[in-house]
Symmetry: C2
Subunit: 480 residues, 2 copies
């Protein structure tokens, strides 16, 4: 298998060559932005998008995933109590009779609903699809109210941490493959977080709220988070400070060992379970050769309610210059373990343990588009291989017969929709569109039973017997 699916290596190289540079500003002024917070995707954007999606899907297939699709809308009740504070961002459909419906908010909840509904106990699936969120659109960061998600999940009861490690391997393969610059994946465990809250003295009823506040640490400072904990959530200042000591910790396996010895944390069963799994996870990550990309980070919380175990989030690393500009590209991939979500959809509450990841492709599209603009790269938006031209008037019939022959042979071909186009106009069209070959037919050629084949790049023309045309074109295309 070529590493980038069906893409021609040269195309890919020309598209991604500049990605070897580190990311700069992600802000894109979108001409196609709509007042409702969505946007059209132009042919140029679609080309970039499809190449990125092909790579992502290629990786998912490399890991043996099946593809699934679910509808854009779900029964409203399916989505309630799954997203915590973010539930207000769900788009509802108007009540036009029948069930109350909502647009899906992510691809994870529909997957869990699918597993429960069909009593599937084991499945490795990927899903590429749009999701919708009523956020105030911050276009600067490439966030829209409609956006694409690429999810990979492993459902089933397996030996601990093997699927979890594979999810992290997949994230590494995709981020390395896309050459977005250096990155790190932060890892934590919900049980370690809950244990940490418990030993710091947070009342259990406030775990969710405090967890959501910790999740803001990538956007606002610890000082501000601490203030909210004390002033808004009513935490005692010393409790907040104990949390503060923990959330500053990040490191590798040695930090896990350190936390095992931590006088408070080591007293908490949940925390020890989480730490034990993290230790095993790092063992597998080392075997996969990616341990140095992973950082155990006690400040990682992840906003969503449904996580129950390991959680992770990949961020692109900034160059010193970017850090100075306090430039933040944010998370580009994330996920975790959610062992209880499927049970919420099952009438008898049967659980199916799951772990998965979501690639933040919109963020990645923005980065790639921005770079291509910066470097003024021209993208071919069609794949046309041959243009059918004539220098003479009244040759439409011949052009139509000829192009039908090319199409029927599977050759990608175009002509101008004019009875009598000028030759120069036709050749300019080829140069503009990057079409490599032109077949030229005229009176003289007709008489001699030949046709001219012209290379647009070299401007060289050769005469070919009419009946050999298709074979000759196919030969040239297979060589290029």
């Amino acid at each position: 298998m070529p590493p980038f699916g069906f893409l021609h290596m040269r195309v890919w190289a020309s598209l991604f060559g500049q990605l070897l540079r580190s990311p700069r500003a992600v802000c894109i002024r979108e001409v196609h932005f709509h007042s409702q917070g969505t946007r059209d995707l132009s042919p140029q954007q679609m080309v970039v998008r499809e190449k990125i999606l092909d790579m992502v899907v290629g990786c998912f297939k490399r890991h043996g995933a099946k593809r699934l699709d679910t509808p854009a809308f779900e029964l409203k009740e399916m989505l309630t109590e799954k997203y915590g504070e973010d539930s207000g961002l769900i788009y509802d459909l108007k009540d036009q009779g029948g069930e109350l419906l909502s647009l899906r908010y992510d691809l994870t909840v529909p997957f869990a609903r699918y597993l429960a509904m069909n009593k599937v106990k084991k499945m490795k699936r990927y899903h590429v699809g749009k999701v919708w969120r009523r956020e105030s659109p911050t276009i600067v960061q490439g966030r829209y109210r409609e956006f694409c998600q690429c999810d990979f999940d492993i459902a089933g009861q397996f030996d601990p941490m093997i699927p979890d490690a594979e999810c992290l391997k997949i994230m590494c393969e995709i981020l390395s493959g896309l050459q977005l610059g250096d990155f790190i994946i932060k890892v934590n465990d919900r049980r370690v977080l809950d244990g940490m809250f418990a030993v710091c003295g947070v009342p259990e009823s406030k775990f969710h709220a405090i967890c959501s506040l910790i999740d803001k640490l990538d956007k606002i400072s610890w000082k501000d988070v601490r203030h909210e904990m004390v002033a808004k959530k009513g935490l005692a200042p010393e409790v907040a400070d104990r949390i503060g000591d923990y959330v500053q910790c990040h490191g590798g396996v040695s930090l896990i060992e350190q936390m095992f010895q931590d006088p408070r944390l080591s007293q908490n069963k949940q925390a020890l379970d989480g730490l034990g799994d993290l230790k095993l996870l790092f063992e597998y990550l080392t075997l996969f050769g990616i341990a140095e990309k992973i950082s155990f980070d006690l400040s990682l919380a992840r906003g969503l309610d449904y996580y129950t175990g390991v959680i992770y989030e990949a961020v692109l690393l900034q160059t010193p210059a970017q850090a100075q500009e306090s430039f933040n590209v944010g998370s580009v991939a994330a996920g975790g373990r959610y062992d209880k979500l499927v049970g919420m959809f099952d009438p008898k509450g049967h659980k199916v343990p799951c772990v998965g990841l979501s690639i933040g492709v919109e963020r990645i599209f923005s980065i790639v588009e921005q770079r291509m603009k910066t470097f003024g790269q021209k993208i071919r938006t069609t794949e046309t291989q041959v243009f059918v031209a004539t220098p003479q008037k009244n040759f439409l019939h011949e052009r139509l017969k000829l192009i039908a022959e090319l199409w029927d042979a599977g050759i990608k071909a175009e002509l101008l929709y004019k009875n009598n186009p000028k030759l120069l106009t036709q050749l300019h069209y080829c140069e503009d569109m990057g079409i490599p070959l032109v077949v030229i037919i005229g009176e003289q050629e007709m008489k001699e039973g030949i046709i001219k084949l012209r290379s647009v790049a070299s401007r060289e023309e050769v005469a070919i017997k009419r009946e050999n045309l298709v074979a000759e074109i196919q030969k040239r295309l297979s060589e290029s």
Copy 2:
């Protein structure tokens, strides 16, 4: 280019071999059908779907189209007065503050809105995406409230009938390529219809309503349509009878000539314009070699408001046995010319003439799925090439190191997520999933620095030096 995109020819052949037979019942009992009229698509369905979509998109690209994407929802006002009587089927979003929004009903109106909004005067684009309609779902015919459309359109002012002929050529290429059995494309022109109504004595205010009735002729008999015309729409019986004489006519170029001579129709300027274009169209269709697939059919009306010129609809032909069972597979592709739609979105009313087509992929999916069920065909839902197995306990670490090496080399590989799986379980998994190769590692192999490579089909095993494994696998895969 291989004719079926990136698909391996054998996969395609095994999937579509049986399509050479003519279509039978299209009814599919969907286990995944939801009360809201939508459904999940299982991995098996997704495989069939993707293969069909790849063929369709391959054809669109062969004709030089660019890909475009638009959001799932549009401003509600954009969709009003575009769909005639079908407007009641539009899904509205709940008013949660901000603009009033509706889910798109088709891909044509968003395309026209895109052209007007971006002042694009010329574009050949395709669009594959979901649309939503609040119809009472008739699952028997493969109709759901959410379904996929594949559209190809040519926008711009060109010499007459060249793009129109290309649209019909594309429909023929796709339907032939999918081997769905024999088909015919009915062609008519809205101006011929309007002229026909005028000369028959229909008041102009009733053109739309009568046109919608004519559109029902593929579902109900002329007798019933005539009854509705007279009883519900207040048409004089003799007017209805005159229409009845026309709508029974269908044929080739000779019918166009006959209509040119028709004493009533030949008095109507609009009808003559339409007939003139149809004559030119057939000239081009003959050059494309597809004229025998096309039937000028005066009963073809097409429901949508926005068509202004040529209209067409492809239907699969029934075998005599099917006709006896009064079995109707209905239209599988359709389209037409809409020269005024873009102008409706432009503040100054600037028009961009357009012509296009939509492939009824859902209908096609249903037919293909049904056939595969009938023939009990097993479909591979993953592309895994190699399975990593061991006959011994405590070999997880070795398996993980080995599989990471395969993934990093771009090889599609899987293992069982168990510390100590049984060898038989592992080999059964390969047979179930159709994985062709197994690498087997154990204590003895480790000592000797080798690895066993097993062909699942032949059960032959060979020993390979550990360091040659990736190269050997790649060699085998390239040969198969």
